[in-house]
Each structure stands twice: as structure tokens, then as C-alpha cells.
């Protein structure tokens, strides 16, 4: 009987911890929505700019298709300076990729500040796996 009551106390404790975890992450939603909105707007600006540049270049849009090959970061920055539509559109993709990525980084710092170490470890786990995917990509490149 004593053991059961101890177990239920332990369960209550676990439940309360989960409830605290949840409440702590509530405010985070607001900050993440800001990050998502900013990323979305910047990316959309670059998509529209890239498509406009591609259209005013006078070249038929069909000519751009399927001529990309492997993406190299070194070509990318030169292209932005030279108003290359390809670079502008790639930049939009990179912003889209970086938006959820930065939201995970933000989560880590948020949970660190709130001392929610269990949730911080979850976010670090996601970040590590994302980093592995990036490294896999770079090594292949």
C-alpha cells in the first residue's frame, strides 16, 4: 500500500514537471512565429526579385530550367552582386532553410534561459541531426 502511494506521488511529480515544461514553452510560440514571419517575408522578396530579374533579362524562362548542376556557395555571392536570378532564387531557398534552423537554435537559448534542461536537450538533439544533414551534404559536394 505504501509503495503504491509512493508511486502515485512520483507520477504526480512527473506530471507536474511535464505541465511546467509545457507552460514554459507557451511564450516561445510567440517568438517563433516572429522568426517564421521574418524568414517568410525575406524569402518571398528574394523569390519575386529573382523571377522579375529572370523575366526582364529577355531570355526565355524555359532556357533557365534544368541547367543548374550542383550548387556551390562560392558562385552564389558573386551572383547576388551581378543580379543573377539563379543566385536570388537560391538565396530565397537558403532563407527558407535557415528559418526553421534558426528557430531550433532560438529554442535552445530560450530553454537554457528558462532552465528547462530536458527540453533544451531535445532541441540540441534536433540541431545535431540537422547539422549532420548539412555535413552529409557538404561532404557529398
Amino acid at each position: 500500500m505504501k509503495k503504491t502511494s509512493k508511486d502515485s506521488e512520483k507520477n504526480e511529480f512527473v506530471k507536474n514537471r511535464n505541465a511546467i515544461d509545457f507552460i514554459q514553452s507557451e511564450r516561445l510560440g510567440f517568438y517563433l512565429s516572429r522568426i517564421f514571419f521574418t524568414g517568410m517575408v525575406i524569402s518571398l522578396c528574394f523569390i519575386i526579385a529573382g523571377l522579375i530579374i529572370a523575366l526582364i533579362n529577355g531570355r526565355s524562362y524555359d532556357k533557365y530550367l534544368m541547367k543548374q548542376g550542383v550548387f556551390y556557395f562560392s558562385d552564389f555571392f558573386i551572383g547576388i552582386r551581378e543580379f543573377s536570378p539563379k543566385s536570388y532564387l537560391y538565396f530565397a531557398i537558403i532563407i527558407l532553410v535557415l528559418t526553421p534552423f534558426s528557430s531550433v537554435i532560438f529554442c535552445i537559448f530560450y530553454f537554457l534561459k528558462k532552465r528547462q534542461y530536458k527540453l533544451m536537450i531535445s532541441a540540441i538533439g534536433v540541431l545535431l541531426i540537422l547539422a549532420i544533414s548539412m555535413l552529409t551534404g557538404f561532404f557529398k559536394n
Binding site: A19, E26, G29, G39
Partner: protein
């Protein structure tokens, strides 16, 4: 002209997707590969970017309303992202015919899920009634782990998450689907969270949406580094999907849902037959 067609594809995918609650990926890949004759790997790459953009756009609103369970999302996301990397790597070793076959099978599966979710959703209704009962109890003893504010019911709905290991396993498979076929995998995650893990449907949808964006990042980076994302194909589609998704969310309550579901299921079956035939080397057009 092709630019307009690509944007139009995105608009239709985004519009239909937002009305019946699926991502646009399942429409984008067959249309790009069957009608535009774009290699399926590049079509999947374009779909991934579109799925990512849709997820970012939709979860922005869900996050603001606190419908997303971030702590649950992050826990499940570890397994989904690992699955996405596995799927992305697997793609390099997979023959085009097998990819067509797999995608064909997936469209049939999704036709079934779309029908079940939109036309035969009695089980979900029962589940939602249970949540309302839980909500009433919560006001008395506050033993719930998490809650969200339901605008329709005008009160906080509480829920207790159970069977987390099942969520981990299905999340991993949803990740593989995302990496391999360029779809969000919400049709696996949402029913799992709702029916098996006790998460209310609104929270399950919002959390799955939040997760899809992060999962797509893992696969998109691999696709990007292998030259499988053509920005001139992907970005007009993204533009269209965002416009179509917004249009769909405004008109979702005004259009006859049943008719759209039937059209979409018919399209899925048509795509499925085409893609499976293509996997055997038979081209219908």
C-alpha cells in the same frame, strides 16, 4: 509560359491542399514529373521546398495561437529528422522506376486517408467529445499536462499525452517518407498523435505542421547539395503554393468540402495509376 504553368500548379496544389488538410507535395510531384516531364528527383526537390514554405507559413499562425505543442514537437522531431536524412541518402541509391512505384503506392494510401479523414471521420468526432470531457475535468482538478485554447468552444482544452514511443517510431517513418518522396508526412503523424497519443486533432495538425518545416530542412540540404533542387522550377511553385494556400484558408468554409474531396481522391487514383504504370515503363501520354 512555363513560368505561369508552374505558378498555377502551385496555386492548385496549395488551394486543394489547404481545403482538405494535406500538404501540396502529393500533387506537385506527379504533376511536375508526369505533365512537365521533369525528372522525378527534381520534382521531389521542388516539392520539398514548397512543403517547407507551406509549413513555415501555416505554423506561424498556429504558433501565435499557441496551438503547437513545442515540447512534444521537438521530442518527436529528433526521430523525424533522423528519418529524413536516411530517406535523403536512400534516394541516391534508388532507381527512378522504384521511386515512381513508391510514389504511386503513396498516392493510393493518401486517397484512402483523405476519404477517411474528410468523409468518414466518426472516430475523430468521438475522440473530440472525449477531449471536451477531459476539459471539463481539468477545470476541476487541473491534472492535465498540456492545454490549448479552442476558439470554437471558447475554452481551454486539456490533454494528456500517452504512448510517446509509438510517436517516435512513426515519426521516424514519416521522416523517411519526407526525405525519399518529398512529402510532409502529416498524414502519418496527425492520425498517430490524435488516435494513439491522445493529442487533440487541432494540436496534432499544428504540431505536425511545425515539425514538417524542420524535417524538410534536413532533406532539402541533401537535395540542394546534390543539385536536385532547381530554383527556377521550385520557386514559382513555392509562390503558387503560398498564394493557393492563403486563398484556400479563406474559402475553406465557403466551398463544398465533399465535392473537392471526391475530385482530389479521383486525382490521386489517376496519379497513382500513372506512376505505377510508369514504374513498369508504360507511358500513357
Amino acid at each position: 509560359m512555363i513560368l505561369l504553368y508552374l505558378i498555377l500548379t502551385g496555386i492548385i496544389a496549395g488551394f486543394l491542399g489547404s481545403i482538405v488538410g494535406i500538404g501540396g507535395g502529393i500533387i506537385i510531384v506527379p504533376v511536375l514529373s508526369l505533365f512537365f516531364k521533369i525528372p522525378i528527383q527534381n520534382a521531389i526537390g521542388a516539392s520539398l521546398v514548397a512543403v517547407m514554405a507551406t509549413s513555415i507559413s501555416a505554423s506561424r499562425l498556429f504558433l501565435r495561437k499557441n496551438t503547437v505543442n513545442i515540447s512534444l514537437g521537438l521530442k518527436l522531431e529528433i526521430f523525424t529528422t533522423a528519418g529524413a536524412i536516411a530517406g535523403g541518402i536512400l534516394l541516391s541509391y534508388m532507381k527512378t522506376e522504384i521511386l515512381f512505384g513508391l510514389f504511386g503506392a503513396l498516392t493510393f494510401l493518401l486517397a484512402y486517408f483523405t476519404l477517411r479523414k474528410n468523409l468518414f471521420s466518426k472516430k475523430n468526432q468521438i475522440k473530440n467529445k472525449q477531449f471536451q470531457i477531459v476539459a471539463n475535468n481539468i477545470e476541476k482538478n487541473e491534472r492535465s499536462y498540456a492545454y490549448y485554447y479552442d476558439g470554437a468552444l471558447k475554452k481551454n482544452i486539456g490533454y494528456n499525452i500517452v504512448k510517446l514511443p509509438i510517436g517516435f517510431t512513426t515519426s521516424f517513418f514519416a521522416g523517411i517518407m519526407s526525405g525519399l518522396l518529398g512529402v510532409g508526412g502529416g498524414f502519418i503523424k496527425v492520425p498517430t498523435m490524435n488516435l494513439l497519443m491522445n493529442v487533440p486533432i487541432k494540436v496534432a495538425t499544428a504540431t505536425s505542421n511545425f515539425m514538417i518545416g524542420i524535417t524538410a530542412v534536413a532533406s532539402a540540404v541533401i537535395y540542394l547539395s546534390r543539385g536536385l533542387i532547381d530554383p527556377f522550377i521550385a520557386m514559382p511553385v513555392v509562390l503558387g503554393v503560398l498564394a493557393g494556400g492563403t486563398l484556400g484558408s479563406f474559402t475553406a468554409y465557403k466551398v463544398r468540402n465533399k465535392a473537392i474531396v471526391i475530385i482530389l481522391v479521383f486525382l490521386f487514383i489517376l496519379f497513382g495509376i500513372n506512376m505505377i504504370l510508369k514504374s513498369f515503363g508504360i507511358n500513357l501520354y
